[in-house]
């Protein structure tokens, strides 16, 4: 997966979490003016439902709005999950979000935003 951290095991879990939450906030920043504030929230929740089978530790993204999720909350929920697993799960979550965005608006928003998010994640590595 292009968005995945290359060597996640050497990166603390908090850093992974923070990086992906920032990525989601960036998506919201771009999407909200065009499709409304509720859209990103719903996209993330639906995406979480899709990846829950593979990454059950991400269930809380489906239960609560992502804006209420802070690293400390995630830390509680993610005990026993490695940074690599977490990175893979959040990566899949983002992929699902972009798939949803493409379903809604085709190529109007998703491709440039994908590049922007990828760039931001690379910066945090």
């Amino acid at each position: 997966m292009p968005l995945m951290f290359d060597d996640s095991s050497s990166i603390p879990q908090e850093q992974v979490t923070e990086a992906y939450l920032k990525a989601i906030h960036l998506i919201d920043e771009r999407v909200a003016p065009l499709l409304g504030k509720a859209t990103t929230r719903v996209l993330v929740q639906v995406a979480a439902k899709h990846v829950m089978d593979r990454y059950p530790f991400l269930y809380f993204f489906a239960k609560m709005p992502y804006a209420e999720i802070v690293p400390s909350v995630m830390r509680e929920q993610l005990s026993g999950v490695t940074a690599k697993e977490l990175s893979a799960g959040l990566d899949a979550l983002l992929d699902e979000c972009f798939a949803g965005l493409r379903e809604l608006t085709g190529d109007l928003i998703a491709p440039p935003l994908y590049d922007e998010v990828l760039h931001q994640l690379e910066q945090t590595q």
Partner: protein, 590 residues
């Protein structure tokens, strides 16, 4: 096919420029922008139903796009899908549309819905004026080239989705997306308003339907029903109440309180009605208050039975009622039957009285003669065998005692009936004499014992001087009725204890039996006329239900009290009544 981007409004060109960073905020551009927003805003605000919203939406979108169709999918149970085509669409185009709507709906957390379900429930709203001409080849050959789905949101809540379809590939422009989203926002608010208006209309219709149904029921009631406001002015009355009250020849539609209406009227019963209503306004519930709605001189006067109940504010914040609801029943025919029954009882009891007096007199005469004969036999022939107690006269005397007791019982029944008639005619009076209460009680107990061999009577006096000024016959009647009941309602026999004591300056008589007892909920009814306890309505417990009614009238007449309690061990009942030592200065006799 035309290019799908149709900037028909000059502002749209400027929006495109502004997206590309060109100077667009000139006064002319801002003015055009405001005019555009104002125009589409007005269209949505003016929409009175969802179809008007569709027109406004289509008009706004067609300013910029050459659409094939736009669709609105609304959340709900069931969901609703509206297809607004801009020109005729082929079946394959439609099928593809449903497929894409279903996929997009899933992305924004719609309940799972299939393309087939969407197709089955879709509503087509194709206004004639926007349908453009297309050849059959154009229609059949058309395929979806571009799709844009925008969530419809109200206050961060997704209520549905707007889907735009075009045959041209890449028809939707990123630069126009923000404006399209704004139009979707307008549409969402307008659709939500429409939904709320539809809901309001449906609720109003439902409430109106309920109101009409209630009005129909109230007007069909066999009872009269009237409702007043907090001041006591009639605000609503049904047909029956209107007819009943029409006799007062008063306009009840006036906003004047009934009390005021009554003051200005010479109709007597109106005052009574106002009194009953006033009780309700004070928060009291009044049941079956009788009211003579025509003159007493009439043979069968119109009699109404009124029950009122206070109406309280639903919020419960007001202590006083906000009005009164009154139910009026015409009980004239019941009264007529009662009157006939009373007349019949009066005649029959008078007719029974004469032969009963003769039977009682001759029985007494025979008893005395036999008593004399036996006394003589005892004194003159003490050596005669068998002994005097074995003489046939002795058995005859015993039979005569039983006859005397039963005759007195019958006499009490007849007297009760006669008393009931007297009470109805206000001719019930008390004849006061001075006598000893203990003597009267002892005599009554002796007579009761004579005709009740299964029972054991005991008499306890806790008072030395038992002198009393009262109506001896009537007090005897009270004791007789209570003892009769004690015997009658303890068919297995048992002990009957009669106690006389002083209580708060009065004489208190208590009669305790070991009979079947009385349920506490019947305590208030047992002194009503012709009232008989349901489980005693068998031949085993014969009676007419007047004894305690008359007893209460006599005790009340003396200024005393009568009540009953169940015995502590759950067996039997104790009746208590008090009689003042002498009549009060006000004079209880009436």
């Amino acid at each position: 096919m035309d290019s799908s981007v149709h900037p028909r409004f000059p502002f749209i060109e400027s929006e495109l420029r502004s997206f590309h960073g060109q100077a667009a905020d000139t006064p002319t551009t801002i003015s055009q922008e405001m005019e555009y927003i104002n125009t589409i805003g007005k269209r949505f605000v003016a929409a009175i139903d969802r179809f008007h919203v569709h027109r406004a939406l289509l008009a706004a979108l067609q300013e910029r796009y050459g659409l094939a169709a736009c669709c609105i999918l609304l959340k709900g149970d069931p969901f609703e899908l509206f297809i607004i085509p801009c020109h005729p669409l082929s079946t394959s185009f439609l099928e593809e549309m449903f497929q894409k709507i279903a996929s997009a709906a899933h992305v924004i957390d719609f309940p799972l819905v299939s393309a087939e379900q969407l197709a089955n429930s879709a509503y087509f709203d194709a206004p004639d004026e926007v349908v453009e001409y297309r050849t059959q080849e154009d229609i059949e050959g058309a395929q979806i080239g571009s799709v844009l789905n925008i969530p419809l949101t109200i206050e961060n809540r997704i209520i549905g989705m707007l889907s735009l379809f075009d045959v041209v590939v890449g028809a939707f422009d990123t630069n126009l997306l923000k404006l399209t989203s704004m139009i979707a926002d307008y549409a969402a608010v307008a659709l939500e308003n429409t939904r709320l208006r539809e809901r309001e209309t449906a609720l109003w219709r439902q409430a109106e339907h309920e109101r009409q149904r209630l009005e129909l029921i109230i007007n069909s009631m066999a009872e009269g029903l009237l409702i007043t406001d907090a001041q006591g002015a009639i605000v609503s009355l049904n047909q029956f109440a209107r007819c009943l009250l029409a006799q007062a020849k008063i306009d009840f539609q006036t906003a004047m309180p009934l009390r005021e209406v009554a003051k200005k009227s010479n109709v007597l019963w109106l005052h009574q009605l106002a009194n009953v209503i006033d009780q309700g306004l004070m928060g009291k519930t009044a049941m079956n208050q009788e009211l003579m709605a025509s003159g007493r001189q009439e043979i069968v006067p119109l009699t109404l039975s009124i029950s009122v109940a206070p109406l309280h504010d639903v919020s419960g914040k007001r202590i006083l009622p906000i009005g009164v609801v009154a139910v009026l029943n015409d009980v004239t025919s019941t009264k007529q039957v009662e009157q006939l029954k009373d007349e019949f009882i009066s005649v029959v009891s008078h007719e029974l009285r004469t032969p009963l007096t003769a039977i009682k007199g001759y029985t007494q005469h025979l008893i005395r003669r036999l008593e004399r004969r036996l006394r003589k036999a005892r004194t003159t022939q003490p050596e005669v065998t068998p002994s005097v107690t074995d003489l046939p006269e002795n058995y005859d005397l015993h039979s005569l005692y039983v006859m005397q007791s039963q005759t007195e019982h019958l006499e009490r029944l007849v007297n009760d009936l006669l008393d009931r008639s007297r009470m109805r005619e206000n001719q019930f009076t008390l004849e006061y004499t001075t006598f000893y209460f203990a003597d009267l009680l002892a005599e009554c107990v002796r007579l009761a014992q004579a005709s009740a061999e299964q029972h054991t009577f005991s008499f306890i006096i806790q008072q030395q001087n038992t002198q009393v000024v009262a109506d001896r016959t009537r007090v005897s009647q009270v004791i007789g009725n209570i003892l009769d009941n004690a015997v009658k309602y303890s068919p297995q026999g048992g002990e009957v204890v009669v106690r006389l004591e002083e209580w708060e300056g009065n004489y208190l008589v208590s009669v305790m039996d070991q009979g079947i007892g009385v349920s506490p909920e019947l305590f208030d009814h047992i002194f009503e006329r012709f009232y008989r306890i349901h489980n005693t309505a068998s031949r085993e417990y014969a009676g007419i239900g007047l004894g305690l009614f008359v007893a209460k009238a006599i005790v009340d007449g003396h200024g005393g009290k009568i009540w009953l309690t169940n015995n502590q061990h759950g067996i039997g009942t104790t009746f208590h009544f008090t009689i003042p030592r002498k009549p009060s200065s006000k004079g209880d006799a009436s």
